[in-house]
Subunit: 338 residues, 2 copies
């Protein structure tokens, strides 16, 4: 017989007494706030304006815990970042849990605690949520989906359609840290201890950048890495993009791991880095804002947007002066990275 | 080798070329609209006011397709209903998919089509989303999480704290249809064809009720059924609740199925029914509004809120005049009902 005291059972998701116990014993002590505590069907939010951003992401990362973070921290920061790069101050998150029967409640508690701490550190509330359970074998421990609502920063208009030839491309720090940390941990590579996910909420830095002005477009370079984001920019704008290999900030341990395992760092997911396309004239000032902030100390201008062209290619100028096309990754390389 | 043309592969969730193909070939043709088509990190919404409701629900229903609906329809209607019962006009939904490798793309397409059609019928857009894939055996075909944003209806204040002794309790129609449909289908019971889920968006009816006035509190009676909602009202308000068995609207086929399988219809999930607590003086008018609407033709006043009491019990007056306590279900009975 399953010990009801230490493992998730199907009944924890049944909407009855055990669901209620789970919320009261595990969810509210870790995530509670005035809005969530009401346990309504919806959270009521009073925002300063009706100009909002709305986003969602599912999190299926494996393993659940890794150096620099865990699925809970990821679920808070990742969704906050999707709001921030759209030019919105993150205001509130929802939290939906799908849990496999048999998950130790201690693990659930550890994740909820991480969610609560990350939310608190980043000044955001989890205001509404849901918990479902599925039979053992029908999920892999726990999947989390967060959605977020943010208030758009007045006067800021970001978009792919704002990008112009000559704009500079900034990355806010070293590339590939999150993805290589997860992959190395999964493959049991010995240097894993040197690797650490960059999982972080970027809002404090992004807020400063938006106030400073000159930003045309931003995106956090998660799945698919910098390569996916730059290819999206190229294909959407119809403009070529050129980046320089010797400008790319990469931790040596990440580079070694990527080389050993045959990955291109440009394809690897980040969870605390953005790409910003900024106007030519504002690039140095934007870079300085980044470098003066703890979240952007290793920021760099890695390239620029070229002219409109039929091919709309992303090209990398290599360290020895060669050129190679940076393609959209196929996607097979890195399942369950976030 | 897996045929890339008809099944979900891990790479469909990798953020690269195949993810992009999936979105362009399957998601946008079924769900596309001006906002979603931008494929931004966040959707930008311009609402009339900053007074909003925000909610989320995960959907893990098994089987994926059933008489009266499917997981996609459920994911749209369920989250819209959570906004509606909070007194908010549903405005926009997010959609997060977690898909098991090997799922036939034809099934995914059928679900996306259902989501698109349901959204269109109910005048709501899916404005942002995410797709993740996990290995075969790490999920059960597909799990969906939707979140929703709604604009609060001006002048309407609903809440458990508005409920007063003497208030009447209305249910908007027959009870248990959704849950018994799912259970019977899972158990392969022969009368399943007579059962049909009530899965529906309740906003059109709720909007009329809110305009009419007199509503104190609403909830859609999903997991845990009417019993869970009424117990929540009793425990939150500290008031007794009395309902009458002979007033409960129940389809005969649902009652037969419940009796055969040993379920109490009061514990069974509904997906297109609300409970409304309305002021004594407005009860008959509210009931009439319901009965005149296609979504509420079988609505009934099933009981009333009693005095504050130490026990704060929900009691059922049976058809033969006895009384029994209606308890919060334990939760074990009905996994993966929604």
């Amino acid at each position: 017989m399953v010990d009801t005291n230490d493992k998730i059972m199907l009944a924890h998701g049944g909407g009855g007494q055990l669901s209620s116990d789970l919320i009261k014993k595990y969810v509210l002590p870790n995530l509670g706030n005035d809005t969530l505590n009401q346990l309504g069907d919806s959270a009521v939010l009073e925002l300063d304006s009706g100009s909002i951003c709305f986003t969602t992401d599912g999190y299926v990362v494996k393993p659940l815990f890794f150096n620099g973070g865990d699925i809970g921290k990821l679920a808070v920061c990742g969704t906050m970042n999707d709001l921030a790069v759209a030019g919105a101050r993150p205001v509130a998150l929802s939290l939906s849990l799908i849990i496999e029967t048999g998950l130790e409640l201690a693990i659930l508690e550890k994740i909820l605690k991480s969610i609560g701490e990350t939310a608190k550190q980043n000044n955001i509330d989890i205001v509404t949520g849901d918990t479902k359970t599925v039979e053992a074998g029908s999920a892999d421990k726990i999947f989390i989906t967060t959605a977020g609502v943010g208030e758009r920063v007045g006067g800021v208009e970001l978009g792919l359609n704002k990008i112009a030839s000559g704009d500079k491309i900034i990355v806010s720090g070293t590339l590939g840290d999150h993805g290589m940390t997860i992959i190395s941990k999964r493959k049991g590579i010995s240097f894993e201890s040197e690797l650490k996910s960059d999982c972080a909420s970027l809002w404090p830095l992004i807020e400063q950048l938006l106030v400073g002005g000159g930003v045309r477009f931003m995106r956090d370079a998660t799945r698919g890495g910098v390569a996916a984001t730059l290819n999206e920019i190229a294909s959407s704008t119809g403009m070529d993009i050129e980046i320089c290999e010797d400008k790319l900030p990469i931790n040596p341990a990440v580079q070694v791991a990527a080389d050993m395992l045959g990955f291109d760092v440009l394809n690897i997911a980040n969870e605390g880095k953005f790409i910003a396309v900024v106007s030519h004239g504002c690039a140095e000032r934007c870079l300085e804002i980044c470098k003066n902030h703890p979240l952007g100390q290793e920021a760099a201008i890695i390239g620029e947007v070229g002219e409109v062209s039929k091919s709309a290619l992303v090209e990398l100028v290599t360290k020895i002066g060669g050129r190679r096309v940076v393609q959209l990754p196929y996607g097979r390389e890195l399942p369950r990275i976030c």
